[in-house]
Amino acid sequence: MDPQHAALLAKDIGAGLATIGVAGAGVGIGNLFGAFVSAVGRNPAARDTMFRDVLLGFALTEAVALYALVIALVILFT
């Protein structure tokens, strides 16, 4: 295998590895909504006020996954 192809292959493998970081965000979002469901089970009246904070937490957690995606894109396209 010549070095140029090897470099391309390494690029693809690196981008694939970079996406592993998304697993952490999956755990985070699962935790978030799990806690939300059990909290609503205890106190259904507080659902609407809690849901706003949950959405904020969801957006903040999802952003972490997107940082991993940005790194993958940077590896792939530069």
Partner: protein, 250 residues
């Protein structure tokens, strides 16, 4: 690879708009989208608030809901004196919201998917909140970096951490918005590319099979609609939080 390939980032390429006049001053499609967003907001508010009805119609009700939503967010998050910064937060919120929403339409340009745009907005928020901090507290604002109730021997460790986390605010604020919008549009492009690949390589069977990526794209539109609103909200509420830190120092 034979057949069509996926050019996921081609959609973010800047081209000049408005004919030869636009080309001579480098007026890009991104600027067109920004101008459209600003004009749409102004016209929308002008039309919505012209009636001034006691019982609002649909447009007026939407304008009032937006206004009250951001106003409550300002008052609740910044606390005392939060109304002073309401115009800034409301401008940022509506500009980013319209930018995200305009970008969802085909053949339109999502200017919030460019890091240059989001970083400019985030840097402005960062510098403004720092300025507010120094304006209200003077040099005592540096005490913001010294956490209270911590043993003195820990301070050499904690103060640099506080400073670094403060300085990383514009980075996280801008990358969050940019990455969310870019990721959504790239996903659309990738699934649309799958459709082209399937029809190009498998014939009739491919046309039938490409219903799956098409359905996924339809579902993604719903998700992106949520993300567009949510990211504008997050940007606005984080602006409020930074202003709260600057005004109240804790």
């Amino acid at each position: 690879m034979a057949g069509p390939s996926i050019d996921a980032l081609g959609q973010f390429r800047l081209t000049t708009g408005l004919g030869p006049l636009g080309a001579s001053v480098n007026f890009t499609n991104s600027n067109e989208a920004m101008l459209a967003a600003a004009v749409i907001i102004v016209i929308f508010f002008f039309v919505g608030l012209r009636a001034r009805a006691m019982i609002p119609g649909r447009t007026q009700a939407l304008v009032e809901i937006l206004y009250e939503f951001v106003r409550n967010m300002c008052v609740d998050t910044i606390g005392e004196g939060g109304l002073r910064y309401f115009p800034l937060v409301f401008t940022l919120f509506s500009f980013i919201l319209l930018g995200n929403l305009i970008g969802l339409f085909p053949y339109f340009f999502a200017f919030t998917s460019h890091i240059a745009v989001t970083l400019t907005l985030a840097l402005f928020v960062f510098l403004f909140s720092t300025g507010v901090g120094f304006y209200t507290h003077g040099l005592r604002f540096f005490k913001f970096f010294v956490p209270e109730g911590v043993p003195v021997w820990l301070l050499p460790l904690l103060v640099p951490i506080e400073i670094i986390s403060y300085l990383s605010r514009p980075v996280s604020l801008s990358v969050r918005l940019f990455a969310n919008m870019t990721a959504g549009h790239v996903m659309w492009e990738v699934f649309a590319g799958f459709m082209l690949m399937l029809t190009g390589s498998l014939g009739i069977l491919g046309i039938v099979a490409s219903i799956i990526p098409l359905g996924l794209n339809v579902a993604l539109v719903a998700l992106e609609l949520l993300v567009a609103g949510l990211q504008a909200y997050v940007f606005a509420i984080l602006t409020c939080l930074y202003l709260h830190d600057a005004v109240h120092m804790h």
